[in-house]
Symmetry: C2
């Protein structure tokens, strides 16, 4: 039996349902933020499945969780697949989790089919991909790849001031797995990540498999304005330094400046804070986050200059600043992995199309370490980062079938 | 000795310093929100001072706290003075607290001077004037005056979902005073409230006493926009329903529409909420508060129509709504009380000017029950609702001297 034939659609779907209960929301989504109790519960559940199948498990110093199926050659570098189990605060059941469960399904399918591979095959759940609780996102894979320093990340704070190091310690205590060693990162021979598309193209084009060619670049910023708190009833407009009025001018100008004609630039203000937040006090401080993405670094660079110009020109009489928090360059995946994904989809008679990824993924960091690629499956109406996120059992299984075939071939090279 | 001569500047200043420690902030302001532990501590401290002077104390069912100095005629209606002890989240040491301490100083001064009055004189600390934790503001005086229903107010919730009834019970348990009876409100013969100006006019005109002629009208609104959460990296602009982009368009248009040529209209967006608040998710919901004030009801009415029009026109492709939360009409104070304040300031050789109040005060509700007025003293640079709020010991004492003279005359009518 081939690995692809051993993929079980019902098992994969049931595992999604089991995971969706951990942090499940009344609207059918999940709130399973990085290093929360819900994250710990998801790790425990995955560990219980791994144990039942006799796979070995370990974590590294940033909490990345690895499930390993041995290969014939104990000295061969492993091939790896996975994604993340943390979610947005009002996230869906498939973003990230599908990539972890598809990788685990691949390990099980290889086991069930009695397939021996030369190299070990490892399923991974990366820590804190979303970056909604602790910034920056894709943290676990970035630390693994040496893009961020472990010690810096351990000091990250969430919006309530909780230090990542402490949250990580609690999570690992609740969901124990042996630490591999003090340092994250080890050599890999290949990496393939399965994920829902999080956009509408596969559905619109009626294709089952997205052969992902690369990931657009992304930059994050925080804009802060500072004015002076004052009484809302007594302070004339001319005497005000209203931090939110300044933030509004800046945001309005930014929305306008980023409205490109071909609608390729992605510009999002996602988090907004206004201080002191009292209805009858003129705000003294405001801040908002910017997430900006485009496949071309040059376009990102040009728009960053525009954003800076707007902050400088629109803030008066308040002070304002824009700080770049992250800058992830566009990623091009390995042509051989891209070709392999396409060939396996074709061989399985699954409709497919080449496409770039609009979203960032852990694969962008791992692509610096070894040949890497991604497999997309459709999600309903392209909706993601939303409790209504949805996908079909058949599409999820189709992606897992392509994945196991790709992993088997990579693991025998 | 006259009451005015018995006012002690050092005592009044020391009491401000003592109160400023309760909820004191590192920047020298206070965070003593309504019905918090800090509010309870302030009530306890006032009670200890009242007890030491032999004044009787009681509270009513909304938590208003009364300190009573008896008059010669047990059947005569009392005259009252006071303000509030709750503060903004980042408030100052004088807003509200001055009016309570000036009233208490008046009681002590009458006592020290051995002045007998016909009527009782009552100092009051009204519950929840600020309205920053529980909406609406000026709650205690409004319930006392029958403007809001007690039962409705007891169900108010703060931003964390705490019900006012529970917060009130905890506060009264921590700071006990006998409840007068189930219902708030009792008949009064007169009311005078001392307060810092919270604007720059007295300082600019180099006057010590503001003879307050009335209070401008104020209306509060909540604007909500609703779109659809979506992934910040994959969702094209044309497919977005970005609730914060809609809120920004609406807010920008409102700032423009309320920029009146004579700078009399006060328009403030003070509290802003964006959901889910994740940097890489397109916001699905946003809301903000509006505080709008003007001395003319007709002007408020006209601008309310403009705000509604903006919400209707600028929201697409999101849905949006504007809800009016409060509508307090302009207040005109009693001409006889206004004249009395002016006459006493003149008699004490204190520079003074007639002026309206830009801010709302508890006096606006009590003015419906009995002849009422207010006394303003300068505050530094007009800054209020700000931790930097400041006033001089001499100005505070000057206001208290006018107050005690006015109260003595009212209490002997």
């Amino acid at each position: 039996m081939s690995g692809a034939k051993a993929v079980r659609e019902d098992r994969l779907w049931q595992r999604h349902a089991d995971m969706a209960r951990l942090g499940g929301t009344p609207k059918g989504g999940v709130n399973r933020q990085a290093l929360s109790d819900e994250d710990a519960a998801a790790r425990n559940l995955l560990a219980s499945w791994a144990k039942a199948r006799g796979f070995s498990m370990f974590t590294d110093a940033i909490g990345n969780l690895f499930v390993r199926r041995e290969g014939a050659d104990a000295n061969a570098l492993p091939v790896m697949s996975g994604s993340h189990m943390d979610s947005q605060p009002t996230g869906g059941r498939f973003d990230g989790m599908y990539g972890v469960l598809a990788a685990f399904e691949a390990l099980e399918a290889l086991e069930d089919a009695g397939v021996k591979t030369k190299r070990p095959v490892v399923a991974v759940a990366w820590t804190n991909e979303e970056g909604s609780r602790f910034q920056p996102g894709a943290m676990g894979s970035a630390v693994f790849a040496g893009y961020y320093k472990l010690d810096d990340m351990l000091l990250a704070k969430d919006w309530d001031g909780v230090v990542l190091k402490d949250a990580l310690a609690s999570t690992l205590e609740a969901a124990p797995a042996p630490l591999r060693d003090g340092k994250p990162g080890f050599a890999l021979d290949g990496y393939v990540e399965a994920h829902i598309e999080q956009g509408p193209r596969l559905e619109n084009e009626r294709k089952t498999i997205g052969v992902v060619t690369g990931i657009q670049g992304s930059r994050r910023y925080i804009v802060t304005t500072e004015g002076e708190e004052a009484h809302a009833g007594t302070t004339p407009r001319a005497a005000r330094k209203d931090a939110f009025a300044a933030a509004t001018r800046i945001a309005a100008a930014m929305y306008e400046a980023t409205a490109d004609a071909d609608d390729t630039l992605r510009f999002t203000i996602g988090r907004v804070e206004v201080q002191p937040g009292s209805p009858n006090t003129v705000p003294g401080k405001a801040s908002f986050t910017i997430d900006m993405r485009h496949p071309s670094n040059a376009v990102l660079e040009a728009h960053e200059a525009k954003l800076k110009d707007i902050v400088a020109k629109k803030a008066a009489p308040c002070a304002a600043a824009i700080e770049r928090v992250t800058n992830v360059a566009p990623t091009d995946f390995d042509p051989k992995v891209i070709d392999l994904v396409r060939a396996k989809a074709d061989a399985l008679k699954l409709t497919n199309m080449d496409m770039p990824s609009g979203a960032g993924h852990d694969a962008m960091h791992i692509a610096k370490l070894c040949p890497a690629g991604m497999i997309f499956v459709p999600c309903e109406r392209g909706i993601s980062h939303n409790e209504a996120e949805n996908a079909t059992p058949a599409d999820l299984a189709a992606g897992a079938r392509v994945l196991v075939e790709v992993l088997e071939e990579l693991a025998n090279r």
